[in-house]
């Protein structure tokens, strides 16, 4: 509509001079947008294509069908990574939801120093995963961190050696990830708690609801859309986790804490198997879509309903 207006306002000018005059703005509009959109589409398609080629050290054309996928899926490396992702993703998301909600409810009790406390719970988000992963690798190292400290204090039989225990090492990643990003859940939940309708709370108070029932029956049910958003974003984070594991365990001991993002990197840049690496990357994308598509559908339905209301 506005476009027609601007044309109508310049009668008599030739189309070419008009185009030339508008060239700078057209460039400023289109170049960044096309670069951003173009690289997303072409990069995604190109990686998908590579995943169907026999590429090893360099990208080559050719067609091997699903061979790269079956090869990746058959490796122990990927199977362990996928199981770890399920374990890590579910516990990490659950624990950071619970911790975040607890923090938000505590901070919502009109306590002194709320701003300082909120900054304390959120600061890990401003620090790189490389830094926090490194620090946690020291704290959880039995010969160096918490276990050593407790030994020095006199409790010799104390054991906390998950970092070097094949079966338990994945939980160290859960600990570090929850520590780092439960503040994010807290921030969203706190915003949600603050926007609960006061009338609703007053009505419940008049009905004689105590604080526990108030939260369970009145306040928490209003938070479930936020909960879904938090879950989806945290899952997205879990699926692409790389830096944290690289710094904390580097996938070890052995390959006990392998995750898909590490498998992709390993295949592409350490083993020089580009086709298989690309296939693993596409598998990661598929896992992500399994989370995002239902979420997008839910948002679409919700928006439809809001539109009709």
């Amino acid at each position: 509509m506005t476009g027609e207006l601007s044309v109508a306002m310049q009668p008599g000018r030739s189309a070419i001079s008009g185009l030339l005059r508008r060239l700078p703005e057209q460039l400023m509009i289109w170049v960044p947008l096309l670069l951003a959109a173009g690289h997303i589409v072409s990069f995604a398609l190109w990686t998908i294509w590579i995943s169907f080629t026999p590429s090893t050290l360099v990208p080559v054309s050719g067609w091997v069908g699903l061979r790269n996928y079956t090869a990746v899926l058959a490796t122990r490396n990927w199977q362990i990574a996928f199981n770890n992702l399920l374990l890590f993703g579910s516990t990490f998301v659950l624990l950071s939801l619970v911790t975040g909600l607890l923090l938000a409810i505590l901070l919502d009790q009109r306590i002194r120093g709320e701003n300082v406390l909120r900054s304390i719970f959120l600061y890990p988000l401003a620090v790189s995963f490389v830094v926090t992963g490194t620090v946690w690798s020291w704290l959880l190292n039995p010969g160096l961190g918490i276990e050593k400290l407790v030994h020095d204090l006199g409790w010799i039989s104390f054991r906390f050696d998950w970092l070097i225990d094949r079966d338990m090492a994945i939980w160290t990643i859960v600990i570090a990830a929850v520590w780092q990003s439960s503040g994010f859940a807290m921030a969203l939940f706190l915003a949600g708690l603050r926007s609960v309708d006061n009338e609703l709370i007053k009505a419940a108070q008049i009905d004689g609801a105590g604080p526990v029932r108030m939260y369970r029956r009145v306040i928490l049910p209003t938070l479930w859309p936020i909960t879904i958003t938090v879950v989806v974003i945290q899952l997205q984070f879990a699926i692409s986790t790389f830096d944290l594991v690289r710094a904390l365990t580097n996938g070890g001991p052995g390959i006990a804490t392998q995750l898909p993002a590490l498998v992709v990197y390993d295949l592409m840049f350490q083993r020089g198997l580009l086709g298989r690496g690309a296939a693993a990357a596409v598998l990661m994308l598929l896992i992500l879509l399994a989370v995002l598509l239902p979420y997008a559908a839910w948002r679409f339905v919700k928006r439809r309903q809001a539109g009709h209301a």
Partner: protein, 285 residues
């Protein structure tokens, strides 16, 4: 002074919240203390402890002394690399995002919602799907293993976020304002410069803080597209821990880790409000 109430439930709340705050602060406190302890002291005791003697020399060693792969330059050149990547990429991606957000939200043109939709898909496309294409592109244009290459990557990757932030913010600007300005003969840039930009400082601060934090902390692109002396500080930290795994120097490493974390911590400390706004804005959309 208000009367302090000592209801048991209030005491419990303060107790729990203080314990949790201590747990969140503990790793930071441990690293700060270790950065002042000598390597020997840490080796004899544990990582957790109070410095017997304050070893300030750890910082000097971390900054410009220790060696990674036979180059003894400390963390300084890598900090400089990170700054030379982060600052230009933050500024350019924010500026381009502001113009693009303005164009899609207020200028409206054919295909705007399509192209905007694709741009926002970039928020979800995993980095792993872009590693190979970026490697090929950077190699072809001769920017592999250069800081300029990393600036390019982060600028273009960042456009998804910056465009989204700015578009959502500009969507609240009344269209009548723009229409009136156009009737007065103002063009695309004039309206942006005179009307939109003066309104934009909150969203520009949010965007700059977001971009700065993310690019500074980024690791995967840094370690994939650069090697050796060209690496940003996150990649150098990993190389450092690998290089001195045999003879650990945890005091110096603690200082190095703190120096590397300092820029984003400072940004958070001074701009926390905007940082949180970016965090929630990215999520709620």
């Amino acid at each position: 002074m208000r009367k302090l109430s000592f209801e048991p439930s209030r005491v419990l709340i303060y107790l729990v919240v203080s314990l949790l705050a201590a747990a969140y602060l503990a790793p930071l406190v441990v690293v700060v203390l270790n950065s002042f302890r000598s390597n020997q002291e840490i080796a004899q005791a544990s990582m957790i402890g109070w410095p017997k003697q304050w070893a300030w020399s750890n910082y000097a060693a971390a900054w410009s002394g220790f060696c990674v792969a036979e180059t003894c330059t400390g963390i300084r050149p890598y900090m400089l690399n990170s700054a030379l990547v982060t600052i230009p990429a933050t500024i350019i991606s924010t500026m381009l995002g502001a113009v693009a957000g303005y164009a899609v939200s207020l200028w409206r043109f054919r295909g705007d919602s399509w192209i905007y939709g694709i741009v926002t898909l970039g928020l979800f496309l995993p980095q792993q799907m872009r590693l190979l294409p970026w490697t090929v592109v950077l190699r072809d244009i001769g920017l592999i293993n250069t800081l300029t290459g990393l600036v390019l990557v982060h600028t273009i990757q960042g456009l998804s976020f910056t465009t989204l932030f700015c578009r959502n913010y500009y969507a609240a600007v009344p269209h009548e304002l723009i229409r009136a300005a156009r009737i007065d003969g103002a063009g695309f840039f004039r309206i942006f410069w005179r009307i939109i930009l003066p309104l934009s400082s909150p969203i520009l601060i949010v965007t700059v803080i977001w971009q700065f934090t993310h690019i500074w902390n980024e690791f995967l692109y840094g370690v994939t597209f650069t090697t050796g002396q060209q690496q940003p500080v996150t990649a150098a930290l990993i190389a450092l821990s690998a290089a001195i795994a045999d003879i650990p120097q945890h005091g110096v490493q603690s200082a190095a880790v703190l120096i590397a974390a300092l820029p984003t911590l400072l940004v958070y400390f001074f701009g926390g409000r905007y940082f949180v706004r970016g965090l929630t804005a990215g999520a709620v959309k």
